[in-house]
Every structure is written in C-alpha cells, then in structure tokens.
Assembly symmetry: C2
Homo-oligomer: 345 residues x 2
C-alpha cells in the first residue's frame, strides 16, 4: 500500500509552509504507508506568467492522488480578466463539499481543558461562491447582482458531515449558523435540511446529538464573548469563511489553524491563512497551520496514530513557547519551528 | 421650533429601553427644542396579535415626525407566513440608507485614548436584504436562490456618508470592507464606486481622507486582533451586520452600542442589540445602547450640545462601574442605570 499525495504550494508563504508539512509527513516512517509526492502548480503567480490559475493538468493529476496539500493563493483585489480563484475552483471541481476547520486553544497545562475547542464545518461548494454575477446599466448607474444558491442536497450532506464529526466528540453538540430571519427561503432551507438529516436518519445514528441554531451576527458576537458554548458549528459557505477567521483570531493566530477540504473520496489539507505577500520570502511564516493540516488530512483518512504524533509535537512546541514565529510573539524562523516539531516527534 | 419624535419600542426589551432613552431626551431641557413624542407600533408581537408587523399607519405617522427611536424586534427562526422584519421594512420604506454604528471603548482614565474607536457605516437598503428569494424543486431535491443586489448609486451614497463621517474624525481613515476576491462583480462595483466618490468629488472635499480596503474575513480577524487599525469601516449590508456585532463584543457588550439609520432627511436611532426575549420583562436590560442612540440621533441632527451631555453622563456611569446591568457584570436594574445617567446629566 502506498499514499500518493499531491502538493500544491501555490502562492506566497504557501511555498514555505507546504515543504514543512511534507517534512513532518516524511518523518512518520512506518506509522503510515509509504509516501509518494507529486508536485503540482496553481495560483495567482502562475496565472501571471502562464495565463492559467488552475491548469487542467493539475486537476487531472490530483484525481490520480489519494489526497493533497494546498498552500495558499494570493487574491487580486481588482478584477483581473480571466482570473478565478484556484482554491474555489478546486473545491468545486473535486466536489470537496466540506471545509472542516478545528480551532483549539492550547492550554499551558497539558492536563487542562482548552478554553476554545470547536470545529467550523463550512459548506464548500455553493452560497455566493457559485459566482453567478451579472452587471446591468440603468439610468441611475450600474447595478450588479449575484446569486446565492442553497440546495437541499448540499445542506444535507454538510449537515451529515457535521453530525459525523460531532459523534466523535464528547459534547456531541451541533449549532447551525444562518440568517433565516432575513433569508427565510435560502437559509430557511439550510437549517431545515440539517434538522431533517437528524430526524430522518433511520438507524437513530444521530439520536445522541444535540442540535441548536443561531443567527450569524449573534453567533459571531457569542463566539467572541463565550467561545466555550460551541462544539461543532455548521454554516453556509460565506458565514463559515468569516466565522473561521474570527475563531482563529481568538486562539492567537491564523498561523495555527488547519483545515481540510473533504469530499466523499478525496481530501485536501489547507492552512486557513492566506498567502501573506507582506511576509513571503522572509522565512518567518508560521508552518504550524500547514503541518496541522497534514495531520488533519491523515486523521480523516483513518491514520489517527500518525496524526496524533504530529499534533502532540505541535502542541508541545506551542506550549513551551520557546521556538515560535513572530505572529505568536516569537523570533524563530519557519525552518527552526519545523526542526523543533520534528525533534518532538 | 419643536422636535417631533416617533417612538417604536417594538418587541422584548425594546419596551424597556426606549422609555429610558426618552427620559434622557426630556432631561435635556433648553439644550434642544421642545419635544413632542408620538407612540407608534410595530414588531413581531404586534404581528402575532394583529397580523401586521409594520402597519401602514406607523410608516405614515413617521413621515410626519422629525426623527424616531426604534427598540428591537424579535425574529422568528422558522418562516412565518406573511411576516417580514419591520426594521428591514422601515429602513427601506423611509430610505434610511446608512446604518451608522460607532463602537468605542471607554478607558478607565478619562484623559486616555480609547483602545477601540471606530464607526461601522453599513449600507442599509440592498445586498441580500432585498429578500428576492425563490425556491424550485428538482430531481435532486429543493433549490433556493437569493439575489444579492449592489448598485453604483447606493454604494456611492454610502461611500459619501462614510467620508463625511471620517472628515469629522482626527484620523480621517476609511476602510472599505468587501469580498471582491470571490464576488468580483458585485463587491467589485461596491469598492470601485466608493473609490470613485473620493476621486470625482470636484471641490477636493475628500482629499484629506485616507482610503484603504480589506477582505471581509481578514477584516474580522484583524478587528479582533488589532481593532486600533480601524477608524471608519464602510461595508455592504450583511458584512456590516456581522462586523458591528463583532465590534460590539470587543467593547464588552451589545448593550453599549448605539446606531442610527440615516437617510437624506430622516434619522432613526436604534440600539444594535436585539429584543433579548430571554431577559425581557426582568428589568435588567441595559438601557445605555438606546440612550446613546438618542444622543447619536441628536448629534446627527446638529444638536451636538445635547448629545454631549448624554454621552458624557453615559461614559461616566460606565467608567465608575458602580451602577451597571448584569451584561456588564453589575447588579443594577434598568431604571437604576437610567436614574444614574440622569443624575450625571
Ligand atoms: C482566498 C479565498 C477565496 C478563500 C475563501 O473565501 O474561501 C479563503 O478566504 C479561505 O477561507 O479559504
Ligand atoms: C433583526 C435583523 C433583521 C437585523 C439585521 O440583520 O439588520 C439586526 O441584526 C440588526 O443588525 O439590526
């Protein structure tokens, strides 16, 4: 048995943190199958030189892989003709419908309970991310419209994913995030579809789950004021995007938060942070989010032992506060943090 | 000269905080014109008894007023046939296109600079709040769609409002919040329209303004990590809704944050908090957000002296920490906090 892993560092610090994640996977030795890495291209920098942000070759090669690690993409603020975000494209093309983002604070004392220990389960294929936009000219000036799509099918499968994740956690609490007080049809369908998954599951599989719901604005408020009330948060695409950045801020740095983009038969690890052009090339990017994304990917594939080895090492490095990058108040370089993780492993 | 003020307490704690706001206005005496109050109805509780959430009478009566104070509405989570949020309706019907939400922390030492001192200027009439939603049935289940509308006209006027507000502040910094890396057409138009207001203003009125921009997810992240970087944030409707709740969490309580809904010739004060059914009727609602909303409304109409008297009294009460409601860690009742504000005035 062999594990074939696609590597797409993409832009900016993606090129610094993905090699670090790879190194931790290689250090696992016999805890996981033999590894084969495939280097693949995508990103805004690639677009600038080749005119393509997500080459068809990359998508095809990924289909031959068992899983992948993605770095980060730079996003032009102004519209660039012909450019479309490759990460949004990949999620769609590989039908990676769930973006799973665990956000956990690491307590000083390893026996203490973390203050924040939640997972954002973000729907990853629809909402405003379908990018159906139009522009018209009227006598009062231009008018732009975007379509927000919420389907029963996608809402059910993301609900199911959230329940499966919650089942493995002690509190088994799922909070649906929506804005059905304004969007009664679209967000109404989202919340209703998720309720129905719990209600309709025939074998009573989800009976032990507590299902709550909250309006997105007050959910963000309460996330900041009392993050302990959350266990698994399930949200449409855009709310999930915002919620996971908010949660990341609460545990100290985006440089700590991993994610996976998961479909029914493919998984792609991806740090939640962006390409951070302001610090790219300076060797001070925090590799921990990418390293944890590799662990999360392994865990999702059933290699819990390998994932634990990586996660425990990362937690120890954070707890000791000796070797950290500047985003966490440290003075260390990317490669020094990686070396420290490898040492603890 | 006389000031005719519509009062719409609406639901839940709205009925407890609006009378408090009224009392502070009455206490101003000769600092403002003679007051006349008009009691008006709207809300979910009204809908439950009468079938109407926003009676046409209320809208018509408001048109005869100089300004208004709105309490809060309860939002049913499930779709209720025939019900539509009266606050969203009022903003639309009176064309109150700007929702202005100042969020300021009160330092212990009155001579110190507040750590957080920003204003969220939220577009109040379009985005997903136009509520154009449809539902279709397909072989894969139901599909719901909502339209997100962004017009050049509304984006320009909210941009202009943000600039006017920034001109009166020492830093004169405006940050446009958007997600144009995904919504290149709609949010592209939003950011571009606001840039054009600054560029095109003929008399150079806005030359002293610094204009920046940020993607909404990282804006929320940075708002939590380094709120001092913000002065005036201008955002489409939904991002503004979320951002202002996040900012409120950072200054300690939604019970502190006021807003006005402002159009070209009408202004309506409204606390940012909701109707809080869980604490309604217990006399522990924090009246400070509603009281500050009354002050903000006065300031917007040019009665700065009256507004200052209210705001200074509120700040003193917060600073002294002697008479506060439970949301701020105190043990006082709504009427005790009001009495303390009146004493300081
Ligand atoms: C880069 C951007 C398109 C992306 C998103 O909005 O999904 C990013 O913010 C993320 O969270 O992965
Ligand atoms: C009650 C709700 C419709 C409203 C909104 O979303 O605008 C509220 O959250 C607000 O911020 O005033």
């Amino acid at each position: 048995q062999k594990l074939k892993i696609g590597l797409i560092p993409a832009d900016g610090i993606g090129r610094e943190v993905i090699p670090a994640a790879r190194a931790t996977l290689e250090a696992l030795g016999s805890d996981i199958p033999k590894l084969e890495f495939v280097d693949l291209e995508a990103g805004f920098e690639l677009f600038a030189t080749s005119g393509e942000a997500l080459p068809e070759d990359t998508v095809e090669a990924l289909k031959e892989c068992d899983c992948a690690l993605f770095g980060a993409v730079s996003s032009p603020i102004k519209k660039v003709t012909g450019y479309s975000s490759p990460i949004v494209g990949l999620r769609k093309k590989l039908d990676l419908y769930a973006n799973v983002r665990p956000v956990v604070s690491v307590p000083k004392d390893p026996s203490a309970k973390p203050n924040i220990d939640l997972v954002v389960v973000r729907e990853n294929t629809e909402c405003l991310y379908i990018k159906h936009e139009t522009m018209t000219r009227t006598e009062h000036g231009r008018e732009a419209r975007a379509t927000r799509l919420i389907t029963e099918r996608a809402s059910r499968r993301i609900g199911k994913m959230a329940f499966e994740i919650a089942l493995k956690r002690p509190r088994k609490l799922v909070t649906i995030i929506h804005k059905s007080n304004v969007l009664s049809v679209t967000d109404g369908l989202f919340r209703e579809s998720i309720h129905s998954v719990k209600r309709l599951e025939e074998d009573g599989r989800f009976d032990s789950i507590t299902l709550e719901e909250q309006i997105v604005d007050s959910a963000v408020y309460r996330l900041i004021r009392e993050p302990q009330i959350y266990d698994v948060m399930v949200a449409p695409n855009l709310y999930g995007d915002i919620l996971s950045d908010a949660a990341a801020a609460l545990v100290g740095s985006l440089g700590l938060v991993p994610s996976i983009n998961a479909g029914d038969d493919f998984v792609m690890g991806e740090p939640v942070h962006g390409s951070a052009p302001d610090i790219a090339g300076r060797e001070i990017a925090n590799p921990l989010a990418a390293i944890r994304s590799a662990a999360l990917m392994l865990r999702h594939m059933g290699y819990g032992k390998g994932a634990d080895r990586i996660d425990n090492a990362v937690n120890e490095v954070i707890r000791e506060e000796q070797v950290l990058t500047p985003d966490l108040g440290g003075k260390s370089k990317t490669h020094e943090v990686l070396a420290e993780v490898l040492r603890k492993m």
